[in-house]
């Protein structure tokens, strides 16, 4: 896809309009979301491009670790709600179903990724970019990061396997606070709830996270990948099914009156 640099390219974007910047170095394949003027919201094309990049990192023999981070103040404001603004001529159902399929494929690529997957959360994270954190093996956060899943406000439902993983990561009573009541978590709260591995002061958090990433990339690769496999593989069938079901529920929700009303309110507020 045009917007994606080939791995092996330098870390600088090959094109000023690139919404993703990718690079490989010392066995680390890094994906940086690079749409800071839109708070790193994800367009449909960005979902597709991240999916393709993750799949490539998985099959590329020289890649030992894959990281996801972002440029700018935000990690990501999540799904770009403008994705819902243009209804295609085929109607709302067509739009919802295509959106669901793009989402399902995106999340599947995280579920199936066979090597260590590390999130480096540089700032506020919203929606899908919070819910997918349960699919990362390690999550390092700046103390400027916050985590927010406003499903109730947008009449949406949990994705990214969060309906399954969040209760298992932080217990049901804390997961429901996040998923049903949109409780915003600070970086420290997210760490106390086991969603985040470790939090570092913003001015040295990339350096600290990189130390761990480099250690991982320098570890015996056969042992590391076998370790990830036995830790994760027994969950994969359940996670693929959860993802399928979450997307199905979300597609139905996207076609509901309450979702249309929530979106109208949102776009009116923005004007």
């Amino acid at each position: 896809p045009g917007a994606v640099n080939s791995p092996g390219a330098a870390a600088s974007p090959s094109n000023e309009n690139d919404d993703l910047v990718m690079a490989t170095k010392d066995g680390v394949f890094s994906i940086a979301i690079n749409r800071p003027t839109k708070l790193n919201a994800l367009t449909l094309q960005m979902y597709r491009d991240i999916t393709a990049a993750i799949e490539r990192a998985g099959s590329d023999d020289s890649t030992r670790v894959c990281t996801v981070t972002a440029n700018g103040d935000y990690y990501s404001s999540g799904n770009d709600l403008n994705n819902f603004a243009q209804i295609p001529p085929e109607g709302v159902q067509k739009m919802a179903e295509e959106g669901g399929e793009i989402l399902r494929t995106f999340v599947d690529s995280f579920i199936k990724f066979p090597k260590p997957l590390v999130a480096i959360v540089n700032g506020p994270a919203l929606g899908i970019m919070v819910t997918t954190l349960g699919l990362f093996d390690l999550v390092y956060a700046s103390d400027k990061a916050v985590f927010h899943t406003p499903f109730a406000e947008t009449a949406q439902t949990p994705e990214g396997c969060s309906s399954f993983l969040f209760p298992r990561i932080m217990g049901l009573s804390k997961a429901n606070e996040v998923l049903l009541l949109s409780r915003k978590l600070t970086a420290t709260e997210a760490m106390e709830r086991n969603l985040v591995t470790a939090v570092f002061p913003h001015d040295r958090f990339r350096e600290e996270a990189d130390k761990h990433v480099q250690k991982l990339a320098a570890s015996p690769p056969k042992a590391t990948q076998a370790s990830k496999r036995i830790i994760r593989n027994n969950m994969i069938p359940a996670l693929l099914e959860v993802n399928r079901r979450e997307c199905e529920v979300l597609v139905e929700q996207w076609m509901s009156d309450e979702f249309v009303q929530a979106m109208m309110k949102f776009f009116q507020r923005k004007k």
Copy 2:
């Protein structure tokens, strides 16, 4: 059942002997245990009435959230041990089997409840009213609440799906401290162990809990109920089976010599 007010009635009891007080307001169906002179211990009739109330709240279209709380100092001292005091003419086995069936049906009603279920724990909680907390979606507690499951002291075994959910909520080594060693938890400890969502100072805890309940009741109902479904539904078959098994084990235990001895000790101490 006579002891239960119909929802829609005012919050005041229709009858001075009512052991439960129910009310509906703004989409919230609230059940208050109201037997403060007996520390809100549950009689067999109260199990049946709570089961019926929960089922009614689940099928009533105007109900969006169901809360369980209590009047008086205690949330509930759990099962009224006087339930074991009168052996029917048919003998101990008959009593144990009927008790097991009442318990199983009671717990099933929590497992299957399709809308947000919120516990508002105003004071000390014991036994079954602690173990069922894992089946609530959100648990708010006063800082005067304590949580105690004295199974070892009474020669009983875990119910309310706690044998399954407590290890998943707080980890095995902490769950066993509660379930095998009867460790009493303060409200803060219960929150640190993810059994409780949040703790508030006693003098404003109902107000704080109500804010969250009202937010939940005002959320888009289709999205909220779909969210609860995907979070909980994949556990329901396992929970129904766990509940069935827990009740079976408890019925057997109730017919054992060690249980009879524990009860005799208990009733002698009370005199």
Copy 3:
């Protein structure tokens, strides 16, 4: 086996070369690792002897609780890497397969143990003696204990069902820090991550742990064992399969070049 005292013997070793010391008292069967000059590393014979002792404690009617602890400063430095130093005439594969079988049987004995199993961790713990802690019902630790699983450094992979239980005990992002990045945990950190039930100051930790063990041994045995059964039994088939799979992966790893290189580095450093 020669190196094992029969239960019922006094706590003092019957033989100066005994690597394990066993005793029974008031319903408590205690196993103490007793090879302090080697930091309580486990020889192949010790694996076999602990397995036999655990099985005996399980079937012995007078035993109500089984404890595992150690003499000396360490709880255990884990697998004695000298177990890999002498390659038998049949070759590396034979050695790896035998090692895998001894390990699988060892871990199975913990999985299947039908009574409360309590770890009393007196000092640093490494490898297999950390990973098996998830199979104990209660884990008490001295504040001098630390917990370390250096799989990456030794090109090995998780065992003791840690690949399955650690994510369920402490959440994926914290479990991976331990299992993939060899993060060393202090006693307090291990407690915060729910691997440890409680930590006590070193000078009185045995006394404190003993109080809980004695309470457990004095509890109604039928109720206590039935409680453990309903808490654990629904996991046993999954755990046996996880153990089988973990050993299979480890056997393969033991035959890999990267493992041989890691061992060579280790033995060179020791000289």
